[in-house]
C-alpha cells in the first residue's frame, strides 16, 4: 500500500468530515453564541455577553405557554400514531405480498409528497365550510359549523397524518424480524388470536413502537410547516415562535435562545430514550 | 531447492498468537495441506501469504524473493475462497478474464485463455452465465478457473470444498487433484477435513493452536502421528493411559494390567497409548484379550462401528463389512491387538 492503512479511513471520510465541521458544527456554535448576545429595537445585535434571552424564554409565562402547547401537541400526536399506526402495520404485515406492496405505496408514499401539499389538503378540509364541517352537520353530529382551522385539534390531526407513516415503518421493521413460527407455536398451544397478539407479538415489537414514538415525538415537537399553516399566527408552537423572532421581530438572539432550548430538549429526549430502549431490550434482541 | 519457504512466520492479535513461528518449505509443484481445527491458524497463514493479513514477524521467500516486500496485488498468487468470492455483477467469462485484464493481456489471447481454462474445469458452455445462477459446484469451478488462468506462482485454496455436499465434495477432490497434476501448479490447501487433506496432498501440515504439530506425508502422519492430537485428528483412535515398565531387560507396556511387549525405543514411565479402531480385532479366547461388552453397533456401509465398554474403559472398534457375522449389541466380546498396532507417547503434563 502506498499510504499508511491507518490513514485510509481518515482519507475516505475526510471530505465529509470537513464539510460537517464547517457546515454543522460551526453554524451551531455560532448560533449558541448568538443566544448570549444582546439585542435592542434600535441598536440591533450587540456582541455583549448576556443571559437575558435565556432568562426571558425560561421565566416568561408567554413562552411557557407556547412550549407547553408544543409538548402537548407532540404527546397527543405520538399517542395517536401509536394507537392507529401499530395495528395498521400489523394488518399490512399480514397481507399477501401483492396487496402489501400496493398499500405500502398508499401508506408510506405520502412521505415523499411535500408537507406543504399534504397540509394544504387538511386546510381545505378543516374550514367552517370545509368537507369535515359539512359532513358533521349532515350526519347530525354537530349543530353548527365546525371550524378546525387555528385549533390544536386541527394541528394534531394534520400532524398525525404527516407523521403516522414513520410509526408504521418502525413497527413494520420490527414485525419483519419476527419469526412467524413463534405465532404459530403460540396458537398450537391453544392461544386465541388476540392472546397471541397481546402475549407474543406485542412484547416483541415494543422496541419498534418505542423507536417509532421517539421519531414521531421529535418531528412533532419541532414541526414547522404544518402548525404554521393550520395553527396560523394565533396558535404558535416552538418552531413558529422561533421563525417569528427571526424573520418578523428580527430579535435574532432571542430566536437563537429558543432554537437552542428546542435543540437541547429534543436531543436529550432522543438520546435518553434511545439509551433506555437499548438497555431495557438489549438482552431480548441480539 | 525449496520453491516457497516460510521462515518463523508469526501473527499476533493483541497478545494472542494466531500463528507461532511457522517454518515450512514447499517444493515446486507440490500439493501441501494446512490441516487443523478452526482457530488453529491455518487460514491466517494462508492470508499472510496472500497478503490480506500483515504478518507480525517472519519471512516468506518465493523463488528467492521476499514475498512480504511485494504488494498483495503484485504477488501473482491465485486464491480460491471458501465463499468463492465471485464477482456477482459480471459473467463467468468476465470473472475469469479479470486477472488477465489486470495484466494487460490483449483481448484475443485473453479470450482464448479464458476458454481453455473453462474447458479445463469443465465449464465449456457456461461462459455467459452469471454466478448467481449456478450451482455451488459450478461456482467452485469458476473460482478455480479464475485463479488458475493467471498461471499463478502458487495456488492458495481456502476451504474451497467445504460448502459442497458430501458426494460432490468427493468428486471435486478427485477432479481438483487431476487438474493440479496436469497444470503442475504449486498448491496450498487450507482445510479442516482430514479426509480431504489426505486424499489430495503430497504432504500435510497439521496445526493446532497456532503451532505445527507435524509435517509429513499423509500415510506417514496417519501411521506414525507425532502426537496424540495428530492421531486423534487424523481419523478415529482410542487413547489410553498406560505405563512402560522394564521387566527383565525387556520393555513392557502395561495398560491397566493388560500387558504387551512394548515396541522398541519406548520411553519408560507413564505414557499415552493410542490404538486405531481398525487395528483392534475380536478374539475367541478370553485369556488373550481384553473383555468387554458391546454398548452400541452402528452400520456405516463399508464398516461397522462398535462402542465397547471394557476393563480399560470405552473403546471404539471398526470392523470391515466383509459379510462375516459381527457381535450384537449387549454381547460379551474379547478384544486383542498386536504390539505393532500401538503408538506410545510419553504423557505430557501428568
Amino acid at each position: 500500500m502506498t499510504v499508511n492503512p491507518k490513514l485510509t479511513p481518515l482519507l475516505l471520510s475526510g471530505p465529509a468530515l470537513l464539510v460537517f465541521i464547517g457546515l454543522v458544527i460551526s453554524p451551531l456554535v455560532m448560533t449558541a453564541l448568538l443566544s448570549f448576545y444582546d439585542w435592542g429595537q434600535y441598536k440591533g445585535i450587540v456582541a455583549e455577553f448576556t443571559i437575558k434571552n435565556w432568562h426571558e424564554v425560561i421565566a416568561d409565562g408567554y413562552y411557557y405557554e407556547i412550549f407547553g402547547r408544543t409538548l402537548r401537541i407532540a404527546l397527543f400526536v405520538t399517542l395517536i400514531t401509536v394507537l392507529i399506526g401499530v395495528p395498521e402495520a400489523y394488518i399490512l404485515n399480514r397481507m399477501t405480498p401483492r396487496w402489501r406492496g400496493v398499500f405500502l405505496l398508499v401508506v408510506i408514499g405520502p412521505l415523499l409528497i411535500s408537507v406543504v401539499a399534504r397540509t394544504l389538503g387538511w386546510a381545505l378540509l378543516f374550514g367552517s365550510t370545509g368537507l369535515i364541517s359539512q359532513a358533521l352537520l349532515a350526519l347530525g353530529i354537530a349543530r353548527e359549523p365546525v371550524d378546525l382551522m387555528f385549533t390544536e385539534t386541527g394541528v394534531v390531526i394534520a400532524l398525525t397524518h404527516v407523521l403516522v407513516p414513520f410509526m408504521v415503518l418502525a413497527v413494520m421493521a420490527a414485525l419483519q424480524r419476527l419469526n412467524p413460527d413463534v405465532e404459530n407455536a403460540a396458537m398450537s398451544l391453544g392461544a386465541s388470536a388476540f392472546t397471541v397478539w397481546r402475549r407474543v407479538v406485542l412484547p416483541q415489537i415494543v422496541p419498534g413502537i418505542l423507536s417509532g414514538s421517539v421519531i414521531v415525538f421529535a418531528l412533532a415537537a419541532s414541526a414547522f410547516a404544518t402548525p404554521a399553516i393550520i395553527g396560523g399566527r394565533r396558535l404558535k408552537v416552538a418552531a413558529t415562535l422561533a421563525y417569528d423572532e427571526f424573520l418578523n421581530t428580527l430579535n435574532w438572539p432571542l430566536g437563537a435562545a429558543i432554537a437552542m432550548i428546542l435543540l437541547v430538549a429534543l436531543v436529550a429526549i432522543i438520546v435518553g430514550s434511545n439509551r433506555l430502549i437499548e438497555r431495557r431490550y438489549a438482552q431480548v434482541f441480539e | 531447492m525449496s520453491y516457497l519457504a516460510l521462515e518463523r512466520l508469526t501473527k499476533a492479535y493483541g497478545g494472542v498468537l494466531a500463528v507461532e513461528a511457522l517454518d515450512l518449505t514447499v517444493a515446486r509443484g507440490e500439493f501441501i495441506s494446512l490441516l487443523g481445527p478452526s482457530g488453529c491458524g491455518k487460514t491466517t497463514t494462508l492470508q499472510m501469504i496472500a497478503g490480506f493479513v500483515e504478518p507480525t514477524s517472519g519471512r516468506a521467500m518465493l523463488n528467492g524473493t521476499d514475498l512480504f516486500g511485494v504488494q498483495p496485488n503484485k504477488r501473482g498468487l491465485g486464491v480460491v475462497f471458501q465463499s468463492y468470492a465471485l464477482f456477482p455483477h459480471v459473467t463467468v467469462a468476465e470473472n475469469v478474464a479479470f486477472g488477465l485484464e489486470m495484466r494487460g493481456v490483449p483481448r484475443a489471447e485473453r479470450e482464448q485463455r479464458v476458454k481453455q481454462t473453462l474447458d479445463l474445469v469443465g465449464l465449456s458452455g457456461l461462459a455467459d452465465r452469471y454466478p448467481r445462477r449456478m450451482s455451488g459446484g459450478q461456482q467452485q469451478r469458476v473460482a478455480l478457473a479464475r485463479a488458475l488462468v493467471i498461471q499463478p506462482a502458487i495456488l492458495l485454496l481456502d476451504e474451497p470444498l467445504s460448502n459442497l455436499d458430501a458426494k460432490l465434495r468427493e468428486e471435486m477432490q478427485t477432479e481438483l487433484r487431476a487438474i493440479q497434476r496436469s497444470v503442475g501448479t504449486t498448491t496450498i490447501l487450507v482445510t479442516h477435513d482430514q479426509g480431504e487433506a489426505m486424499a489430495l496432498s503430497d504432504r500435510i501440515v497439521i496445526m493446532n493452536k497456532g503451532r505445527v504439530e507435524q509435517i509429513a506425508r499423509p500415510d506417514e502422519a496417519y501411521a506414525r502421528p507425532a502426537s496424540a492430537f495428530v492421531a486423534n485428528f487424523l481419523g478415529k483412535t482410542n487413547t489410553l493411559p498406560a505405563k512402560v515398565v522394564n521387566e527383565g531387560g525387556r520393555h513392557v507396556v502395561d495398560i491397566a494390567g493388560f500387558r504387551l511387549p512394548a515396541p522398541g525405543r519406548s520411553p519408560a514411565g507413564p505414557v499415552t497409548v493410542t490404538v486405531r479402531p481398525e487395528r483392534i480385532s475380536f478374539v475367541d479366547d478370553s485369556a488373550l484379550g481384553v473383555r468387554g461388552r458391546v454398548q452400541s453397533r452402528v452400520f456405516q456401509g463399508t464398516h461397522w462401528l462398535f462402542h465397547i465398554e471394557t476393563e480399560l474403559g470405552a473403546l471404539i472398534v471398526l470392523r470391515q463389512n466383509d459379510g462375516a457375522a459381527v457381535p450384537l449389541e449387549g454381547q460379551d466380546v474379547c478384544l486383542a491387538w498386536g504390539e505393532n498396532d500401538l503408538l506410545i507417547e510419553a504423557s505430557r503434563g501428568v
Binding site: 475516505l12 465529509a16 455560532m30 399480514r94 409528497i113 411535500s114 381545505l124 399553516i229 432554537a259 | 491465485g78
Partner: protein, 266 residues
C-alpha cells in the same frame, strides 16, 4: 400466515381513507372551474393548471428546486460513498463519533438548522445565495444517502475484493470494477432519497431562501400563509402527481419497502 379478519379490514379501510383524504381533496379542488375554493366542486376544468403558467415565479422556483435537489444530492452521495466505506470497513478511533456526526442532521430540528445557517451565511456573506441553499441541503440530505450506502456496504463480502486484489487489481481498480458495482443499488437509491428530501425540504429552507432564490415548497408555503386559492391547489396537485409517478417508478426499481425499511432498520 393467517389472513386479516373483517374488523381488521374495516380498520384498514378507515386508515387508508384518512391517509388519502387530504391528498384527494387537494387534487379535487384543483379541477374546479370556479374562481374560488369550493367543495364539493361542480364541473371539471383545467383552468387553474393553465393559470400556473401565468405565475413565472412558481415556475422559476420549480426549476431552482430541481437544480438544488440534483446538485445537493449528487454532492452528498459523492461525500457519502467514501465515508460509508470507511465506516463499514475500518475500525478506527472516532468511528462511532463520526457516524453520529454524519447522521446528526436527522436529529437536529430543521428549524434549528435553518436558524444556524441563516446566522452562519449572514456572517460569511452567503445569505440569500443559491450556493448557500446547496451547502445547507447537502447537510440535510447526506444522512439519507449515507444510510443507504452504508447498508449496501455492510452487505458485501470483503473476500470478493480480496479476490480482485489477488488477481492484480490496484485499490482504485478494485473500487471501480468491483466495490462500486456491488454497492450501486445503495448509491442509486441513496441519491434518489436524497433528491426527494432536498426537493421537499421547506422548514430549513424558509429561513435561508431569499425572494429571488427560493424553492417551490417555500414559495408555496409563503403563498398559503397569505391566501388559499385554487392556484395553490393546482400547483400542489401537480406536485402530488409528479411524486406519484416517481413513487411508482421507485417501487418498480427498488421496492418502496426496501428503500424505506432498509433505511429504517439500522
Amino acid at each position: 400466515m393467517r389472513r386479516n379478519g373483517p374488523l381488521a379490514l374495516v380498520f384498514h379501510a378507515i386508515f387508508v381513507a384518512f391517509i388519502l383524504a387530504p391528498i384527494v381533496v387537494v387534487c379535487a379542488v384543483a379541477f374546479t372551474p370556479e374562481g374560488y375554493l369550493s367543495l364539493p366542486t361542480k364541473g371539471f376544468s383545467l383552468r387553474w393548471f393553465k393559470a400556473i403558467l401565468d405565475y413565472p415565479e412558481f415556475l422559476r422556483a420549480f426549476r431552482d428546486s430541481l437544480w438544488l435537489a440534483a446538485l445537493s444530492s449528487t454532492i452528498a452521495i459523492g461525500l457519502a460513498v467514501p465515508a460509508a466505506l470507511a465506516i463499514a470497513r475500518y475500525r478506527f478511533i472516532g468511528r462511532e463519533a463520526i457516524t453520529a456526526l454524519f447522521l446528526s442532521p436527522l436529529m437536529i430540528p430543521h428549524v434549528v438548522l435553518g436558524i444556524a445557517f441563516l446566522r452562519f451565511f449572514s456572517q460569511i456573506g452567503l445569505s440569500g445565495s443559491f450556493l448557500g441553499l446547496v451547502l445547507s441541503h447537502i447537510i440535510v440530505v447526506l444522512p439519507f444517502a449515507l444510510r443507504l450506502v452504508l447498508a449496501s456496504s455492510y452487505g458485501i463480502d470483503q473476500r470478493i475484493e480480496h479476490a480482485a486484489i489477488s488477481l492484480g487489481a490496484s485499490s482504485f481498480v478494485t473500487f471501480r470494477r468491483v466495490t462500486l458495482p456491488l454497492i450501486m443499488p445503495g448509491v442509486v437509491s441513496g441519491w434518489v432519497l436524497a433528491f426527494i428530501n432536498s426537493f421537499d425540504e421547506v422548514t430549513m429552507t424558509v429561513f435561508i431562501a431569499s425572494p429571488s432564490t427560493t424553492t417551490l415548497p417555500v414559495r408555496l408555503f409563503l403563498y398559503i400563509q397569505d391566501n388559499i386559492d385554487p392556484l395553490v391547489s393546482s400547483i400542489s396537485a401537480s406536485l402530488i402527481l409528479m411524486t406519484a409517478v416517481v413513487m411508482i417508478v421507485l417501487d418498480r426499481l427498488f421496492g418502496l419497502d426496501r428503500l424505506f425499511l432498509g433505511s429504517a432498520k439500522s
